[in-house]
């Protein structure tokens, strides 16, 4: 493939034709945060966290899905880019379920990590939150859709990585949600125990059921002296 030269953050960078801006940046040691994108998946540019400034472009572009071209002048961390990323995270947090203190996935949460990296605190916007009942009838997976940020990584991983097609995206606007069959709780009939989507979920929306027996059904510890 033909090699091209572009400028990222004032530095000359070599890249191969067909690479995305994100791939080229990563290869030259420039870190761009991503949320809906994973290298294993086809990029969809849904979350906009990876936006960068390309000189001459009317708008910021999503680096995960925009091919790099020779002569491009790209800024990955300009004031405008950082302000935009912060606003996106703030909006995501505003419609996210609530307090991280209540979440057992808080410290493996990508949303929270990016918020911390970008120094975003409590969102300024107070808005009503969707309530979805916890789906815990499956022995393989627990879904808590109040924590879902609609990145669609679960649906794409199920289709593109696991080779199943369990999830669909239903409804519209603020009501949009990831559904199973006719919007019913995920059970062991539609989804087996491959667990691929769980590892792809960036938040605490998908998880493995906690085994009560491990915590409660062991032999009581009796100390005799």
């Amino acid at each position: 493939m033909a090699e091209i030269t572009a400028t990222i953050n004032g530095r000359q960078v070599k890249a191969k034709e067909g690479m995305t801006i994100l791939e080229a940046a990563l290869e030259s040691g420039i870190d761009i945060p991503t949320l809906c994108h994973r290298p294993e998946l086809v990029p969809i540019g849904a979350c906009r966290i990876c936006v960068v400034e390309v000189e001459g472009s009317r708008t910021l572009v999503g680096s995960c899905h925009t091919p790099i071209a020779g002569g491009m002048v790209i800024h990955t961390h300009s004031d405008k880019v950082l302000a935009t990323r912060r606003m996106i995270i703030e909006l995501l947090l505003a419609s996210h379920c609530g307090s991280c203190y209540m979440c057992d996935k808080a410290n493996i949460c990508e949303l929270r990590k990016i918020a911390a990296d970008l120094e975003v605190g409590l969102p300024r916007f107070q808005m009503r939150k969707n309530y979805y009942a916890l789906e815990d009838i499956s022995p393989y997976i627990v879904r808590d859709l109040t924590k879902c940020i609609m990145c669609r990584r679960c649906a794409r991983a199920c289709r593109e990585v696991a080779g199943h097609n369990v999830f669909g995206i239903a409804y519209r606007g603020f009501d949009t949600k990831v559904v199973v069959d006719f919007d019913q709780p995920i059970d062991k009939e539609v989804c087996r125990d491959c667990g691929v989507c769980i590892s792809f979920c960036p938040t605490g929306a998908l998880g493995k059921p906690r085994e009560a027996k491990e915590e409660k059904r062991g032999k009581p510890l009796i100390i005799t002296s």
């Binding site: 097609n165 369990v166 999830f167 669909g168 995206i169 239903a170 409804y171 519209r172 559904v179 199973v180 069959d181 006719f182 919007d183």
Partner: protein, 148 residues
């Protein structure tokens, strides 16, 4: 110019035909039943959740049984600025149901929808395939009389 959906048969096997097939099923039986959705998913090689997703995204498709006549009032900005709220309330008073509901006699379903492209005649509504524009609360009962 070819008509939309021309050449797409009920036996069609292409995923890209989904929307046209859903629209046809809807106009045949008034709504999209679970059986219809599952059947389409099966024949197109899609999952039920994908077909359900498309069926619930479009406001002109319905997964609930509909009345014989479907009233759709535009809730977008131009109609809003021309007092669509008074029309919504007027229809509500006239047929006694709220948006999203169907009258007990099955005569009307009532829904709010996004722009129907009749901004020049705002506030506007559609009943089945007919557009009614420049509405005032007074005109409502006269218009509804035509739909039995």
């Amino acid at each position: 110019m070819s008509k939309i959906g021309e050449g797409i048969t009920p036996q069609s096997q292409e995923k890209r035909d989904l929307l046209v097939l859903l629209e046809r099923a809807q106009s045949r039986s008034g709504y999209l039943s679970k059986r219809t959705i599952a059947g389409l998913a099966e024949s197109l090689g899609l999952s039920i959740s994908e077909v359900y997703g498309v069926a619930t995204f479009y406001s002109f498709l319905s997964i609930k049984p509909q009345g014989r006549n479907v009233i759709r009032i535009c809730k977008s900005l131009p109609c809003y600025l021309k007092n669509a709220q008074t029309i919504i309330e007027g229809v509500q008073r006239e047929i006694g149901i709220k948006p999203g509901e169907t009258t007990a006699d099955g005569r009307f379903s009532f829904e709010l929808t996004n722009c129907i492209g009749a901004c020049d005649k705002a506030p506007a509504m559609m009943i089945n395939d007919d557009v009614h524009g420049d509405l005032t609360p007074k005109k409502i009962s006269q218009i509804l009389k035509a739909y039995k």
